[in-house]
């Protein structure tokens, strides 16, 4: 008996000998072309950085994520320290990234560079995590984190609060641009996990009523520097 | 223009006034109206039941009946959709395809014909009542007619048009479905009929007599004070 792989591939090839007519769609003109093609039918992501930032702010607000704009890194540290005090965090895990380390250093509570000595049980006990990110998609209010840019897989999802520190120039207009940028940057060597985070974790499973913080963070902060 | 009437079988049997009203409006607009008495059923009941061979014979008959007609106009979105959308599919791999496509291009639902072919919205009707409009699914989704009947109704003198909740919901008729799955069909008309009744309108108007059969049948059973009426009957009303 042939192995399952060749069997299935043979069945597929056999099935596809009868062609299905190609749909005649307007979008055809741009399908199959290289990326960077704007998709002018999707939601607007803004043509200039300022326009994108406006859209981003609006999207994040609707998603119940908190956007904090600060002029420089010192102000970022200050803003996160204020948060820590207000929320009475005791233990914070962070990603050892250049943009994050100084912020962690300014914390008024205990902090731990999680990706340097990862321990899942310890992470489970942390109140919050601070990471950087790959990019931010204005169009959808999504923050793209990765196992490379955000200290692994668990750091940005296990603690109750997730704080992302990013520079304004990491904001891109739309998802297509973010994906194209990823490919340009990592090529065939993608980080093992990439995640578009769009607002705090949520569920509507009980009577379709929105509840935040289903399994992932209940609160999501984006500290945008610059 | 010489208009050949396409009168669906249950209009013929159960709602003859709809066919007469259709003819009356067309004549009032100065058109000649003919009725080719050899027409029977469009074949939709068989088509929907999966009996495409039977339906195909009906379709081929209809092609013969309406051969040479300048335009064919029917007061039913559903039966017109059968001719316009499904005859070509049914006759796809047969020598009749060209004739089917030709008939499809010459066949129109009543409100579609008035608004899109004749360019008329005011047919000179008067009807001082509150009405709500029900979109039959075939008219709405197969023929993409939504504004046409509303334009016609808004031009009727004295008529007040009220939109309902559940605007685009199906009434649950679905031909034999309504009898094969009566409880599901009834649940659907409860939702739809309830929303129509809540508008407080005097009449529920539609371009689809089959939907009106279902909705009217339920409204009557429930004793709701709102009556079914075909759009042709409204437009024929001039006193």
């Amino acid at each position: 008996m042939a192995d399952a792989r060749s069997d299935i591939l043979a069945r597929i090839r056999e099935a596809l000998t009868v062609k299905a007519p190609k749909p005649h769609f307007k979008a055809e003109a741009t399908a199959g072309q290289p990326v960077k093609v704007a998709k002018p039918w999707l939601p607007d992501g803004g043509e200039t950085l300022d326009a994108s930032l406006l859209i981003l702010a609006e999207q994040l607000a609707k998603l119940k994520a908190v956007l904090i704009r600060v002029p420089d890194e010192a102000a970022a540290g200050q803003a996160v320290a204020d948060l820590a005090r207000a929320k009475a965090w005791k233990q914070v895990a962070y990603h050892g990234a250049p943009l994050v380390r100084p912020v962690a250093a300014a914390l008024p509570c205990a902090s731990w560079e999680a990706d340097a000595s990862f321990e899942k049980q310890k992470l489970e006990g942390c109140d919050a995590s601070i990471t950087s990110c790959e990019s931010i998609v204005a169009q959808l209010g999504s923050i793209l984190v990765s196992s490379a840019s955000s200290g692994g897989r668990a750091l940005s999802i296990l603690p109750h609060v997730h704080v992302v520190v990013a520079r304004v120039d990491q904001v891109v207009p739309d998802l297509a641009t973010a994906l194209a940028q990823l490919q340009a940057e990592h090529g065939a060597q993608m980080p093992s996990m990439l995640s578009f985070i769009t607002g705090p974790s949520r569920t509507g499973d009980i009577e379709r009523i929105l509840v935040l913080g289903a399994h992932g963070p209940k609160e999501l902060y984006l500290v945008l520097v610059g | 223009m010489r208009v050949s009437l396409f009168v669906p079988c249950f209009v013929d049997q159960l709602a003859p006034q709809v066919g007469l009203a259709t003819a009356k409006v067309l004549k009032r607009l100065g058109h000649d109206v003919e009725f080719r008495a050899e027409q029977t059923c469009c074949g939709q009941p068989s088509f929907n039941s999966g009996q495409w061979d039977v339906a195909r014979e009906g379709a081929i008959r209809a092609l013969q009946v309406f051969r040479g007609a300048e335009v064919v106009v029917g007061p039913s979105g559903s039966c017109v959709a059968m001719i316009k959308k499904f005859y070509p599919e049914l006759l796809k791999d047969t020598p009749h395809l060209a004739a089917a496509e030709d008939l499809a291009a010459r066949t129109f639902e009543f409100s579609e014909f008035l608004v899109n072919q004749l360019g008329v919205t005011d047919v000179g009707a008067k009807f001082a009542k509150k009405v709500t409009y029900h979109d039959g699914c075939h008219a709405l989704r197969e023929l993409r007619l939504k504004e046409e009947p509303r334009q016609l109704l808004r031009a009727v003198k004295g008529l007040e048009l009220i939109e309902s909740e559940e605007g685009e919901s199906c009434c649950g008729f679905g031909g034999l479905f309504s009898a094969k799955f009566p409880m599901i069909s009834t649940a659907m008309v409860q939702v739809k009929g309830g929303a129509l009744a809540r508008t407080g309108a005097d009449f529920v108007v539609s371009s689809d007599p089959s939907c009106l059969l279902q909705i009217g049948g339920w409204l009557s059973r429930e004793g709701k004070p709102i009556l079914p009426l075909h759009i042709a009957e409204v437009l024929a009303h001039d006193a």
Partner: protein, 463 residues
């Protein structure tokens, strides 16, 4: 009548008569309609976006063998291990073998309809593994011992009181009527389970051929935890989930969220390329992917309905379906409920047994309009009906339609039949005729007019 049909008629009839439950479902979906419309309005051209989404899937599905080969080569290059399963039994055996090989005890799962399709939980539990569903809705359904009601909103039919009772019974928590508190109970209960589990099982929404990544869409974060903490990650996916390029997701991810849940994007859209890489601080040691056929190639072989394999399982067609809303998801008796389920189940599990789902539709077409990838859903219901008639017509249908066809071709007989019908209608209404009495149970018929249209036309000056 098939067993499945008998059960369906019984359950559907019962549920359709349950006004309270139907109102509950409508209310639950109310917010969805509002949010969906708000999000759709942000699209500069929704219809064109549907074209693009549809084309992306068409391109992949119609080149499936090549794209799968490309995908699996890239997936393996990323360090993942690919397994192929012709059917459910093979898929279950593969997963059981992995579990045995890695000496697993506890398994945590995130939502995966394909695992429902192959009845994976049963098999794992019989083999002695502890299996916990981590998606809140799936967790609730697992405790209830009931399959999902809706493949995106698994427990949308369950009232909060029932959930509170369920949690009290199984988790010993205090009763509450707050959805928020109930969610937090589940959150607290599941957290340690992720940490302790050896294997995490997830589904996959897209397989990206160009990069060898799998994409998983979720709102709660449970899939991310499932793929982060256990030392083994197994993903189970149908072979049709392939897209050619990463860029295709720029269209498909937002549309999936908007069409299915009224969101701009689902909360977490995550791409996985292999297990933990050198230099990464966490993540599983092994990443397995089980690719399942299970009769998908049978559907693929039908060019008329091949587009049903474009489905991205957004659930939009269920949310707008008046049949679904009135009979509920459990009545279908299928893994995939609603219009898409009615279309594909006959292909996956047999037309004779499952064609009744295609008949149980008024063909209103709301599903087809809602589908982000433009699957011709309601017309496929017609195609299934036609195929079923060809395969095994019921006696009633044969006789009825043969008779109808005979009369349809004879105008004189047709007219005469009409006359007889009108004359005897008052009597017919009183007889226990099958279809007539079914109609009259809840609806009136109009009073027969004295004469048909054709007779009145003939009598008038026109004739």
């Amino acid at each position: 009548m098939s067993d499945a049909k008998q059960i369906f008629i019984k359950d559907a009839t019962l549920n359709a008569a349950d006004g309270d439950q139907r109102a509950f479902i409508r209310k639950a979906l109310g917010g969805y309609y509002v949010n969906r419309d708000l999000q759709k309005a942000r699209y500069r051209d929704w219809e064109r976006a549907r074209d693009a989404a549809s084309l992306a899937k068409w391109t992949a599905v119609n080149d499936l063998a090549n794209q799968l080969e490309k995908f699996t080569a890239n997936f393996e290059r990323n360090g993942g291990i690919v397994h192929w399963a012709r059917d459910s039994a093979e898929a279950r055996a593969i997963i059981l073998k992995i579990a045995a090989d890695v000496n697993a005890k506890a398994i945590v799962k995130s939502k995966c309809m394909t695992s429902e399709e192959i009845h994976l939980n049963d098999a794992l539990e019989k083999a002695g593994y502890g299996v916990v569903e981590s998606d809140l809705g799936e967790f609730i359904q697992q405790l209830r011992g009931e399959p999902p009601y809706h493949f995106v909103f698994p427990c949308m039919h369950v009232k909060r009181e029932a959930i509170s009772e369920l949690f009290t019974k199984h988790l010993g928590t205090a009763p509450t009527d707050s959805p928020e508190e109930l969610t937090m109970i589940a959150r607290r209960h599941l957290r340690q389970l992720y940490v302790d589990a050896d294997i995490g099982i997830t589904g996959a929404n897209f397989l990206v051929a160009e990069t060898g990544q799998i994409s998983i869409t979720e709102n709660e974060g449970n899939a991310r935890l499932t793929a982060a903490l256990p030392r083994i990650h197994i993903a189970l996916s149908g072979i049709e989930k392939v897209v050619n390029r990463l860029d295709d997701l720029a269209v498909l991810l937002p549309m999936l969220a908007t069409a299915g849940a009224g969101q701009p994007m689902t909360c977490y859209n995550t791409l996985y390329a292999g297990p933990r890489k050198p230099g990464e601080c966490d993540g599983p040691e092994q990443f397995h992917l089980v690719l399942l056929d299970n009769a998908r190639t049978r559907l693929l072989a039908d060019p008329e309905q091949r587009d049903a394999l474009h489905c991205i399982r957004c659930g939009a067609c269920l949310n707008v379906c008046p049949i679904f809303k009135n009979i509920g998801g459990l009545a279908y008796g299928t893994t995939y409920q609603g219009p898409i389920g009615s279309v594909i189940t006959p292909h996956l599990r047999g037309l004779k047994q499952w064609n009744h789902l295609s008949s149980a539709s008024s063909l209103c077409g709301a599903c087809t309009d809602a589908c982000p990838v433009r699957i011709d859903l309601h017309h496929h219901l017609l195609h299934n009906r036609r195929n079923a008639m060809k395969q095994s017509p019921s006696l009633f249908d044969r006789v009825f339609h043969a008779g109808f066809g005979f009369v349809m071709k004879r105008p004189a007989l047709f007219a005469l039949g009409g006359k007889v019908f009108l004359a005897t209608l008052p009597l017919l209404k009183k007889l226990p005729l099958p279809y007539m009495s079914a109609w009259l149970k809840t609806r009136d018929l109009p009073v027969a007019p004295p004469k048909s249209f054709r007779d009145q036309w003939k009598d008038s000056a026109h004739g």
